[in-house]
Point group: C2
Chain length 359, copies 2
């Protein structure tokens, strides 16, 4: 550890070399606690000081016990911040840069990365193995993973850049996977932050009509409309599909974004889509089985998975920097990092769309 990094842990000087982090101990038991400062382990690592972090919809799976854990797990994988220190093999990223990363670290040079699937990089690692709901984070494969902003950002852009780190990148990938484009009609299943930012993404890509399905939450509907949704169908299941068909000459939409990850939402996405259309799947599928025969005769394209956010970061940072898009609007609750447990509760109870945490 360098002298410089020894000065970290500024909110807890008395402990020295410790920082505030977040760990999940079991269902509904998330704790803010002091943990050792992260250090460079591999020469390709960087240490960043987080300017902002947040809670992800996917954090709620282990929080609710759906993805069981066997020991306390450091939480958080969305981050923006300033590079404090880099390992000896880091050539591109420099201390002092403001950077955006994402939930998987990737070398950005292997054939899979080069094809744009950095989240399946052959050297893939967790993006913030020390947990990003913290003051500092160790980021592996820094040169492949992190993208610097043109300059230090003004404070009001920080939530937008933070959104790019996961939810915007994921919504954007969903729209790309669903082959959204000019003149197309798009359905979005899911009114969480990813679904809402998929609406924004679809609008940016020129979609003619964007229909949010199954949302019964006035605040989320309003934000969807602000982001570009043209229609909201509150119904779910077969009723929603019938209404959607009525809106599309009986054919279904060209592109559907699945941003929930349940059997019901997946089937709704397939059934919403016309033959030859595309379903972009970014809801992490839990206990889902896609019936082969229905998929086959639906004639839809299915594509998705963990979003290769890295592919889109340069473009997304630019759109944010130019103030073309304002994805940070999905953060409707801001809390100090130490109140992370309240943040989880607010998201679990759907009192908040997405919680930003200030270290």
């Amino acid at each position: 550890m360098t002298n410089k990094s020894r000065t970290r842990g500024s909110t807890c000087m008395i402990l020295g070399g410790y920082m505030r982090g977040t760990a999940l101990y079991g269902p509904y038991d998330v704790r803010s606690e002091y943990v050792p400062d992260p250090t460079i382990i591999e020469p390709t690592d960087a240490i960043i000081r987080l300017s902002a972090t947040c809670i992800c919809g996917s954090d709620l799976w282990p929080y609710r016990g759906v993805d069981p854990i066997t020991r306390p797990v450091p939480m958080g994988h969305e981050y923006v911040g300033i590079v404090e220190e880099v390992g000896s093999a880091v050539k591109i990223i420099k201390p002092g840069q403001f950077v955006v990363g994402s939930f998987f670290a990737s070398d950005n040079t292997c054939p899979i990365c080069q094809a744009g699937y950095q989240t399946s990089c052959v050297n893939r690692q967790p993006g913030a193995p020390t947990g990003a709901q913290a003051e500092y984070a160790r980021i592996p494969l820094a040169d492949g993973t992190l993208v610097p902003t043109p300059d230090l950002p003004p404070a009001d852009l920080i939530p937008d850049l933070l959104a790019a780190s996961d939810v915007l990148g994921t919504g954007w990938f969903a729209a790309v996977a669903a082959e959204v484009g000019p003149g197309k009609t798009v359905a979005v299943v899911g009114d969480g932050a990813v679904g809402l930012l998929a609406v924004l993404s679809a609008r940016q890509m020129g979609a003619e009509r964007i229909i949010l399905i199954g949302s019964r939450h006035p605040q989320r509907q309003a934000l969807a409309q602000e982001f570009g949704a043209t229609d909201v169908i509150e119904a779910r299941g077969d009723e929603a599909i019938e209404m959607l068909k009525e809106l599309t000459d009986g054919l279904g939409v060209h592109s559907t974004i699945e941003a929930v990850g349940t059997q019901e939402s997946m089937m709704q996405a397939i059934r919403a889509t016309r033959p030859g259309g595309h379903v972009g799947v970014v809801g992490v599928l839990h206990d889902v089985a896609i019936p082969g025969r229905e998929f086959f005769f639906s004639h839809v394209h299915l594509h998705g998975g963990p979003a290769p956010v890295r592919r889109f970061l340069p473009e997304l940072i630019n759109l944010i920097w130019q103030r073309v898009i304002k994805p940070g609007k999905v953060f409707d609750l801001t809390l100090p990092l130490e109140q992370v447990a309240e943040g989880y509760r607010a998201m679990d109870e759907r009192r908040a769309i997405k919680v930003l945490l200030k270290p």
Copy 2:
């Protein structure tokens, strides 16, 4: 019925107005029998005199009792022949033309057809509702469904044109769905006629390497190699995937064609494919459930369904007419139509790849 059509049924003049057809009565009970000549029912119909017909791998599903039937069913959906008669609303197709059609009739004008998914046409009907393993067939929506050849074909091209009607069109669609292209490595699961013609299609589309998986049949392997396969992996299951990974720097192939339709073959196709790659699914999926989580993290694209052969017919007829491709080589047994039952047995027992029937 016009006077002209009354003269049909020439192989059975004594009965008059009857023709030889084929019906399935139950598992393993397929019969050649005399049935009434088909007649124009809708003004958009055509009646064709079949020059050749054949038995499809998909005919074996009901033949084996996997797709149960409740009454005798006329069989056959692959056909080429000469137009005998057209309904009053048929404007493009003319009596005397040699035509190629396929297993679904489509108007070729609805938005789904215009998008290239004629097999999901909003006015879709069976392509040969009277059965094409027969001397004559009624073809609905003739103008949308049938494609004439430039002239009456020489006899040696008839098997090739017949192959275009289904198996070539299906193999071609599989390769398109799998986004085969120059420089790509392609895996083909299935050594039936569709799998073999998917090899031919992949070669035509410029694939660099074409790997046939799971084939243990020397004659089929040889034909695959003649059509352009560069490698054959006889192994199946996990062992086949391991060998495939060894051939592809551990990454898997860019494009995989699934031409079987079972759970095992479907999983093999997904596992053979690298992240970001494409799986083209043309084996009619029977009792298949695609596990959501594995699909999600595989990062593959899935697309397929009943091949919209109509989309490709003009191009395929041209390639055959120019003698660029010779797909009719998949017919390794030719029988007179009345021996159709022996044809089913030969395919069921895998003694023949594909059986051509001469009316």
